[in-house]
Amino acid sequence: MARVVFNNVRKEFVDEKKGTFTAVENSEFVIEDKEFVVFVGPSGCGKTTSLRMIAGLERQTSGDIIIGDRIVNDLHPKDRDIAMVFQDYALYPHMTIRENLSFGLKNLKKSKAEIEQQVKQASSILGLDELLERKPRELSGGQRQRVAVGRAIVRNPQVFLFDEPLSNLDAKLRIQMRVELAELHKRLGATIVYVTHDQVEAMTLGERIVVMSNGIIQQIAPPTELYNKPNNMFVAGFIGSPAMNFMDATIENGKAFVEGAQIALPQAVADGLKSYEGKKIIVGIRPEHLYGEEFAHTVSKEHTMDVTVQVIENLGADNLLYFKVGSRMVTARVHPETIARLGERKRLVIDISKLHFFDPETTQRIALS
C-alpha cells in the first residue's frame, strides 16, 4: 500500500463556449498509507475530478501527484497501481462475473494459476462464489456492487479509488454496504480514497474527510473535528443533518444579541470575541444543541430564546421544530415529547458550550484562544 500526495495540483477544463473553468484549485494534501480518506462536497465541487486525476483518467493542468514514491503525472492509469470502483459499477456486460474479475489480471499477463487464486480469494471475501458464472444483468444492485469491489481487490493495488459507489443503491442496501466497506478496509488495510456527496457516508467511513466546494479544499480533518470545529460556514453547513443554524448577532458586553434572545457568553468566549465588540457576527448552533426547556437540566434566562414555531416534523426518535430568527429559518431537533404547537411561542434552551462564531465577511470561523 502507499500514500497519495497532491502537490499544488490544479485542473482547468477548456470549453469552447464557456471558456476556461477551474475544477480544482491548487490542491494540497497527503493521504497516508492505509488511510481511508473521503472527499465530500456538493455536485461540481471538484471531488470526482480529484479522484480521476489520481486514477490518471484526467491529466492535471499543473502540479504533481505522487503515489507511493513515484510522481505519476505522466503515467498511464494501468501503470499507477490503482484500482477504481465506479458509480455505475462499469461491469463488462458481455462477460461473466469470473471474466469480469480476471480481465485486468489477464491484461497484466498474470499466470492462469495466479488469476484463479486471486479470483477465488476475492470472491470468497465478498461472497461471490455462487455468482461467478453469471452475467452482470442477472445480479441485483448490491451483488453488482460487490463484483465491482471484487474487480478492484483482485488487482491487489496500492490505492483503492471509490467514485460514489453506493449512490445507485436503495437506502437499506446502502447502509449494509457501508458497513461492509468499513470492514473491508480493516481487513485489507488498504489506502482508500472515496468520493461521495453524502455527508453521512463521509462521516461514517472516513478516518479523515476532505470537504470541497467550488474546486477549493475547505477543510481536511477527522469527522469529529469537522463536526465540532468547522473551518468556515460552508463546512459547518455541509456537515451535519439537519444543517447547522446560522443567526445574525451583535456582540455587546459579553453577550450575543440575536432576535428573541440575549445570550450570555462564557467568559473565555467573550474574551475571544473582544475584537468584535459592537460588531455584527454570525452565531452557529446545531439543531441538536437546542432543547425544549422542559428537557434542559438547568434553565438560565440568558441561555434561552423565545421563538414562534412555524413547522413541526415528527421523525419518531426526535421532533424537528422550525422557526425564524431574523430573516433566517432555524431548526431545533428536540425530544419527541417536547410540548410545542404550531404558531405558538416556545422557549428553547441553548447549549452555550456548543456555539460557533463566524466572521460575516470572510465566513471563516473565529478562533477563540
Binding site: G56, H76, F86, N107
Partner: protein
C-alpha cells in the same frame, strides 16, 4: 368521447396504411406473378391478377441466356466486402469521434458531416475521372468497392450509437490495463453488437440495390452486379418480359428473405442513435 375519436383515428390510420401497403405490394406481386408467365401475358395491357397457367420457363431463359450466376456472385461479393469494411471502419471512426479526446475531434466530424450535404451527382464525375482515368481501375471489383469502403452516413450512425454506450466501461478497461485497441475490440465491439447488426444489414441492402456506380465503372458482362445485369438484359432482350420479371425476382429475393429474417433489426435501425440508453 375521447375513446370514440381514438377509434376513428385508428380506423383512418389503418385504412391509409392498408392503401399504402397495397401500393407497395402490388408491383412486387406483379413481378412475381409475371415471372411465372410467358412474355406475352407479362406485357399484356389487360393484366390478370391470377394467371391461367404457371411456367418456370422464364427462369430457365433468364439463367440460360445471361451471366446471372456471375452477377449474383458479384453482388454478393461486393455487398459482403462493403458490409465488412463499413462495419469495421464506421465503428472505429464512430468510437473515436464519440469517446476519444483528440485535437480537432469536433471540427473533423463536422467537416465529414458537411460532405453529406453535397449531392452525389456533384462528386460523381470527379470520382469517375479519379477511378477510371487516373487509377485506371475500370471494370474491376476495386472500382466498384473503393468509393464506398466507408460512408459518412454510417460513421454518423455509429458515432450516435457509440455516444450512448457508458464511458465508465472504457475507463474501467483502461485501469484494467487494456490497450486502446483492446478496449475497442474486447469491450466496445461486443456491447455494440445490436448497433453493428443494424449497420451491417442496412449497408448490405443499400449495396445490393446499388445501380448507378457499378453501371458506370463496369463494361464487361462478367463484372456486372445483378442490378446492372438486369438493366443490360432488358435492353438486349426488350421483349422477354417474363425473363426480366424472373431476373427481378431473383435480384429482389435475397433482400425480401433478409427483411423477414431480421425484421426486428430493421425496426431498430430506424431508432438507432435517436434514443440514449
Amino acid at each position: 368521447m375521447q375513446q370514440k375519436s381514438k377509434v376513428v383515428l385508428v380506423g383512418v390510420a389503418t385504412f391509409v396504411l392498408l392503401i399504402w401497403a397495397l401500393i407497395t405490394i402490388i408491383p412486387l406481386y406483379w413481378m412475381i406473378i409475371g415471372s411465372f408467365q410467358d412474355s406475352a401475358a407479362s406485357a399484356s395491357f389487360n393484366p390478370r391478377f391470377i394467371p391461367d397457367s404457371w411456367s418456370i420457363a422464364p427462369y430457365e431463359r433468364f439463367f440460360n441466356k445471361t451471366n446471372a450466376f456471375r452477377w449474383l456472385f458479384n453482388s454478393l461479393f461486393v455487398s459482403g466486402v462493403l458490409t465488412v469494411t463499413n462495419v469495421f471502419l464506421a465503428s472505429l471512426a464512430g468510437y473515436a469521434f464519440a469517446k476519444l479526446k483528440f485535437p480537432g475531434n469536433k471540427s473533423v466530424f463536422w467537416i465529414l458531416l458537411s460532405t453529406m450535404m453535397i449531392p452525389s451527382q456533384v462528386t460523381l464525375i470527379p470520382l469517375y475521372v479519379l477511378i477510371i482515368n487516373i487509377f485506371s481501375l475500370g471494370d474491376t471489383y476495386t472500382a466498384i468497392i473503393l468509393p464506398s469502403l466507408v460512408t459518412v452516413g454510417n460513421i454518423f450512425l455509429m458515432k450516435q450509437y457509440m455516444s450512448s454506450l457508458p464511458t465508465s466501461l472504457i475507463h474501467a478497461a483502461r485501469i484494467d490495463a487494456c490497450s486502446e485497441f483492446g478496449i475497442f475490440y474486447k469491450i466496445i465491439l461486443p456491447i455494440a453488437k445490436p448497433g453493428l447488426a443494424v449497420l451491417a444489414i442496412f449497408t448490405f441492402v443499400a449495396q445490393w440495390n446499388e445501380f448507378f456506380w457499378p453501371l458506370l465503372v463496369t463494361r464487361s458482362s462478367s463484372m456486372r452486379t445483378i442490378q446492372v445485369g438486369l438493366a443490360s438484359f432488358k435492353f438486349a432482350e426488350s421483349t422477354d418480359y417474363g425473363a426480366i420479371m424472373a431476373g427481378a425476382t431473383v435480384g429482389a429475393l435475397p433482400m425480401i428473405i433478409l427483411f423477414f429474417a431480421l425484421q426486428k433489426y430493421f425496426l431498430q435501425g430506424i431508432t438507432v442513435g435517436a434514443v440514449k440508453g
